[in-house]
Symmetry: C2
Subunit: 229 residues, 2 copies
C-alpha cells in the first residue's frame, strides 16, 4: 500500500505539476482544493479536470468564505492589474494577494492529513516567480512544518512526523513546465489567469498569464491553452 | 482610537471571558466565530449573544466545512463520551478533538487581522483544563505567533508585529470564571455542552459540562445555565 499524501490542488499549472511529482515519488495522492470565494469559478473546474486526469485516491473541495474578510483583488471587486512589466511584478506584493491564504490552506491540508493518517503534505509554492507573496518563502514553509508537529494529536502521540513538501520552491516556471511535461501533465486542463472572460478564456495580460507565457516560451514548449486576442 | 484586536469567539465560557479581557485591556474587539460544521448550532447562537452583550466593533461568522474531513465526535455521527471521571478526562486526547482546529481558526483570525490592520489576536486556549488538545499548549501558540510574522504582507513589510494573546492559558476554570464575573461577563449567554438536547439544554454529563460545573463550584459562583435532570 503506497504512503498517502495530501496535495493542495488549485487547478493551476504549479499545483498540477506538484500532484504529478507526488504521484511519481510513489505517494497515494489525496487532492484538496479550496473554494475560497474566488471571483471566478474556472480555477476550481480546472482542479476537477486535473484531479480526474491523474490517478488519485480522492479529491475533496472544501468551501470557505475568505471573501468575507475582503482585501484582495482575487476575492473582491478590485481591478486586477494588467500589462505590468517583469520589473513591476518583481517590485512588491500585488493586490491579488489573499490575506493569510497559504496559512489557511496548509492548515486545512493538515486537518485532512490527520484524519487520513497521512504525514506528507505537498504544496506547489514557488519562491522564484513568486510574485511577492510572503507565504511562498522557504522560511514560511519551515515554520509551518514545525507548527504541524506541535499542533496535532498524531504528532504529539508520536504517530506522525509531518513533512511539508515543496518540490517547486526553487524552480523557474520553465523548469516546472519541463518537469510536468516529462511526467505527462496535460497543461491544457490547467487555469492560471486572474481575469478570464465569461467563457473562461485567459486574458494574456495579467501577472499570472505573463509569468505562464514567459515560462512556456523559455521552456520551448507550446502553451496548449487559448488566450483572448 | 483604540488598537484593534481580533478575538476568536466560540460562544463558550473561555472565549467570552477572553473577549471581555481584550476589551478591558483597551482593545477595540473584532470578534470572529467559525461555523465549522458543528453537530449542534447552539454554540454559534451563544457566540452571537455574547458578541451582542459586549461592546464590540464587529462580529464575523465564517463558514468552513471541517466535517467534510470527518474524524471527530464534534462534527461526525460519533457518540460523545459522558460521565467520565477527572482521571479519564486527563488520560488522553478525546474523540471530541477536531483535527487541526486551532491551527485553522488562528489562520482565519490572522487573515481577518491582516485585512483590518490589526496585529493582536486573542484566543481563549487553556493548558490547565485543556482536555488533552495539543493545539492548546503554549509551544503551539509560540509556533503560530512565529508563523504569523513570516506569513503576512503586513509583517514582511514591517507594518505589523503579530502577537497571539492567550490570557487564560495558565488559569484554572475557577480563576477564569472569577475574572469574567469581575468583568461582568454574563455566563448565562455562553454554551459549553458537547451534547445538548434539542432545546439546547446542556447534558451535565459530557467532559465539557463536567469541567464547567467543577469550575463554578470551585469559584463559589452559581452557574446561571440550566442542565438536563
Amino acid at each position: 500500500m503506497p504512503t498517502p499524501a495530501v496535495v493542495l490542488l488549485s487547478g493551476g499549472l504549479d499545483s498540477a505539476t506538484t500532484a504529478a511529482i507526488a504521484a511519481a515519488e510513489g505517494f497515494r495522492v489525496y487532492a484538496l482544493s479550496i473554494d475560497y470565494g474566488q471571483r471566478h469559478r474556472f480555477e476550481l473546474e480546472s482542479a476537477k479536470c486535473v484531479a480526474a486526469a491523474l490517478e488519485i485516491a480522492q479529491h475533496k473541495i472544501v468551501k470557505i468564505d475568505l471573501a468575507a474578510f475582503g482585501g484582495s483583488a482575487l476575492t473582491d471587486d478590485i481591478v486586477v492589474p494588467q500589462n505590468r512589466s517583469d520589473l513591476q511584478i518583481a517590485a512588491g506584493i500585488p493586490i491579488t494577494y489573499v490575506p493569510a491564504r497559504n496559512t489557511v490552506f496548509l492548515s486545512l491540508a493538515l486537518g485532512y492529513a490527520e484524519v487520513l493518517g497521512a504525514a506528507d503534505i505537498f504544496v506547489g509554492v514557488n519562491a522564484v516567480d513568486y510574485s511577492g507573496y510572503p507565504d511562498c518563502r522557504p522560511e514560511f514553509i519551515a515554520a509551518f512544518e514545525k507548527l504541524s508537529n506541535l499542533a496535532t494529536k498524531a504528532a504529539v502521540e508520536g504517530a506522525a512526523n509531518y513533512r511539508i513538501h515543496t518540490p517547486l520552491i526553487n524552480r523557474t516556471k520553465a523548469e516546472i513546465i519541463r518537469r510536468g511535461t516529462e511526467l505527462g501533465v496535460d497543461y491544457g486542463l490547467t487555469h492560471t489567469c486572474y481575469a478570464p472572460n465569461e467563457a473562461g478564456i485567459s486574458c494574456g495580460r495579467c501577472d499570472a498569464c505573463h509569468l505562464r507565457q514567459k515560462g512556456f516560451a523559455e521552456a520551448g514548449i507550446v502553451d496548449p491553452i487559448p488566450y483572448q486576442a
